[in-house]
Point group: C2
Chain length 273, copies 2
């Protein structure tokens, strides 16, 4: 594995290859969710580039930027075991300057749900993803469905700005008890973690209702709310893949989303129907 921390070095390697390049951008603290992205990228490309960069512009004031888990040595080992070809670990001074050209996420689709709770969060996400795309110039880039709204906005950016990159949507990976994998799960105490299982439980209940042909979104949201009643719910929302709220489940075009707060830890999860 080639560990690279300058843009020029990475560019020289990518420019001189005719291989297909798969790219997995991460903020590190790698877990099985990331590993599943890397494996898929390995299957589908000649070369796989993983980046690790905790991107400050997507954290809001008061969020967990300073305490976000950093595990560089373990992450390197994981990438090596996954046979990652290039691990790109830029530093903040390389990635950001003063008084920059900025990216603004589309208003309607970015200021609901996550964006409503975390205004400008998606501006920062798109800013760094666009920079990384331009540096790595991948054929395929891999994102998990867990950050469903992020995935949707990245796909929109690719369309709006005519980026020549294929975005690959990857399934959510869960712990054996159902909790969606997240680098932030380590913040949870044992009782909090137990309580958090209600999140995936409520999604399974929603899924069962749909399987029984209950397609009314209000009814589904009410049933989910009951499972989550001991929790601090930020939202339960049912949208189409354009992130427009819908009243009736549309098969193959529906995402059911949850965000809750467990003490100071925000957890999100969803299912695609």
């Amino acid at each position: 594995m080639n560990i690279i921390n300058t843009i020029q070095d990475l560019r020289n390697i990518i420019k001189n290859t005719k291989a297909t390049v798969g790219f997995v951008p991460t903020m590190g603290a790698l877990h099985d969710g990331h590993i599943s992205l890397i494996k898929k990228a390995k299957e589908e490309n000649d070369i796989v580039v993983v980046s690790i960069f905790v991107n400050p512009t997507q954290f809001l004031a008061g969020e967990d930027l300073d305490s976000y888990p950093v595990k560089m040595e373990v992450d390197k080992k994981i990438c090596e075991l996954c046979k990652v070809d290039i691990l790109f670990t830029p530093n903040i001074n390389m990635m950001y300057g003063n008084d920059e050209v900025l990216i603004k996420a589309p208003i309607l689709r970015s200021y609901t749900l996550e964006g409503q709770r975390r205004p400008e969060h998606f501006d920062g996400v798109l800013q760094i993803v666009l920079k990384l795309f331009n540096i790595v110039q991948p054929d395929n880039a891999y994102f998990g469905k867990k950050d469903a709204q992020q995935l949707s906005l990245i796909k929109q950016m690719v369309d709006d700005l005519f980026l020549d990159i294929n975005i690959v949507e990857c399934d959510i990976i869960r712990e054996s008890d159902g909790l969606a994998m997240s680098s932030r799960n380590i913040y949870l105490t044992k009782p909090q973690r137990e309580l958090s299982l209600n999140i995936s439980k409520s999604l399974r209940i929603a899924s069962n209702l749909v399987a029984k042909n209950c397609l009314d979104c209000d009814e589904i949201i009410t049933a989910m709310g009951k499972v989550l009643q001991q929790m601090d719910i930020e939202y339960i929302s049912i949208v189409n893949q354009k992130f427009e709220r819908i009243e009736k489940i549309e098969l193959k075009n529906t995402i059911i989303l949850i965000a809750v707060k467990v003490d100071n830890t925000r957890l999100i999860d969803n299912i695609w129907i």
Copy 2:
């Protein structure tokens, strides 16, 4: 010459070539200024792509979007004579959608001078240039020094977003009497055109002062103002190449800029020292 009006067709041609690609984005109404860019691109690349697209997002409400000169048939002839390889003529529905990812020009460098008079103008410029860059994927892109602030911001966008494109700065082309070429010169009546010669005259006076080792910016601006006293001056400004105002001329790092209004026509001009 290949005239292309779909993005996919253009992409297919560019993707399948190993040739170097030079790109000249224009809003049409081509004049000798554009022709000089095309000629330089022809000298330096295997393939030259010219785009013609009157970009609505860089015009402010009340500006001349609706009356901006459109001369497509003449422009095609000019491109053919200049041996342009690909003329790309997209329409507005291809280039813009609803609720888009937006580009915001950097605050400090874009809201002075032109940006102060035309707020959000440079946001629109960068938006369309980024889209066109991503579609054409050129090795080299050619811009005139006449739109000095635009050129500076495009170079900054290339740096900030890590675009793998070389920006080539091209000299201002002038009429024989000194007036800088512009598609908007056709708006001028004969007396207005005569009056407009004071613009380049004032720049020659500035240049002569510098040649005589007068490096004090206030002194130079005062001398220029005298030449332009019959005109509606928007600004006379002396900046370094980062568009920061300077008090003393820095050789090889100074731009002297003028904007005036002649009736409803805005004219800009500058010299690089």
